[in-house]
Amino acid sequence: MIEIKDLHKYFGDLHVLKGIDLNVQKGEVLSIIGASGSGKSTLLYCINGLEAIQKGEVLVDGVSVHAKDTDLNKLRTKMGMVFQQFNSFPHLTALENVALAPKIVKGKSKAEAKEIARAQLEHVGLGDKIDNYPSALSGGQQQRLAIARALAMEPEYMLFDEATSALDPELVGEVLDTMRLLAEEGMTMICVTHEMGFARDVSDRVAYFHQGIMEEIGPPKQIFGEPTSEHTAKFLANVR
């Protein structure tokens, strides 16, 4: 389980996260929605330890992410992360992209790592692209490659940072379908997203962020049906 307690994050003088309290249970799918600059993506970076925090605490299965004696590299293997930019490694084939971390971080043999990579690429529907370089893949395929790459570390949590925002509209569907598939398989997921359909249909809970504050959180039915915050209502009215 991921526990976030009174999390504060500053970029210089800018107070980006103003005291976030949030728990995510195993098996849960949480969607985080809100306007750009509301701190959603920063929260994901803080959970993964990619950004330092100024106050509060993030616990992943009881281990404090920002404690000095935490082995972050080890902890990160529990959390797969998919970014807005696909970040495929351009010098490696699809198979090598996925096999890299199991080989380097987990010390798997070359053959084992390749087997894991092949399985994960088939999992996300890229079984016929294993020898392609990223430059030969579409945006949607590159993003599915990024998902397979994260899954190859057998994470217990998946963090999605606007995974479909950089995609052409016709390519969004295939990535959302892959995310849906993971949710059905029981993966614990935190998805920062602008896809309201996905947030409504797939999530167990939806959180609305407004200017560094988590305005409200609840089941999608409630958030989309009868939001208690006027900010939420206004945001939802605008995105529809």
Partner: protein, 220 residues
């Protein structure tokens, strides 16, 4: 009656062999100094890209000095300085060391550009997979960044190959030194220089062809 001793004689097949041996010396000097200078230069470039303040002030200044002072001055200056401080070495090794440091100053800037071109998102992607800082450098940032600046590196390497001619001022019998000696003897400067030039071309051309081949391979 004895034949008159002549100090001057024409360019013969044997001289071609002399030049070939000298070209071999040029090749060895170049390969050694380019290899060492490249490894050192990548290391310097990495330091420059990581430490913006301390690195830029100290290392950056030293490298700028090596890039700005004409190589011929560096060669004569340091060769004599080595002697003065009791580190006397033959012209070959002095040439390799000075040329190597000069190369590293050129490569450092090229490497820094490549490493800095790999942005934060790509590095974060590596770190988020659990790779350590060094693993991310080794498997993600360096391969991507250094391939991007490979054409510039080839330019540096070919430049150093030609600049190795300046080691002749230290007296080591590399291509240009031997060519000049032959000119003195044969009094056929055009022919000798043309042959020496052909040797330089023969050394450079395979490198640039192979580099072009690698670039094509990486692009596909």
């Amino acid at each position: 009656m004895n034949e008159p001793i002549s100090f001057f004689s024409g360019f013969g097949p044997k001289d071609l062999w002399f030049l070939a041996q000298a070209a071999w010396q040029t090749l060895i000097i170049s390969v050694l100094s380019i290899s060492a200078g490249t490894v050192l230069g990548i290391f310097f470039g990495w330091i420059l890209s990581e430490s913006k303040i301390a690195g830029a002030i100290t290392l950056g200044f030293v490298l700028d000095a090596f890039r700005s002072v004409p190589l011929i001055i560096q060669l004569v200056l340091f060769y004599n300085l080595f002697n003065v401080v009791g580190l006397a070495m033959n012209p070959f090794w002095a040439g390799v060391i000075i040329l190597g440091v000069y190369t590293s100053a050129l490569v450092a800037n090229v490497a820094r550009g490549g490493i800095e071109a790999v942005g934060a998102p790509m590095r974060r992607a590596g770190r988020s997979l659990g790779l350590s800082y060094l693993q991310t450098m080794q498997h993600v940032v360096w391969p991507i960044g250094l391939r991007a600046v490979f054409p510039s590196w080839v330019g540096v390497a070919l430049g150093v190959l030609k600049d190795s001619a300046l080691v002749s001022v230290l007296g080591h019998p590399e291509l240009l030194k031997v060519a000049r000696d032959l000119i003195t003897r044969t009094q056929q400067p055009l022919l000798v220089l043309a042959v020496a030039g052909a040797f330089y071309f023969a050394l450079s051309y395979p490198i640039s062809r192979y580099a072009a081949h690698l670039e094509r391979k990486w692009q596909s």
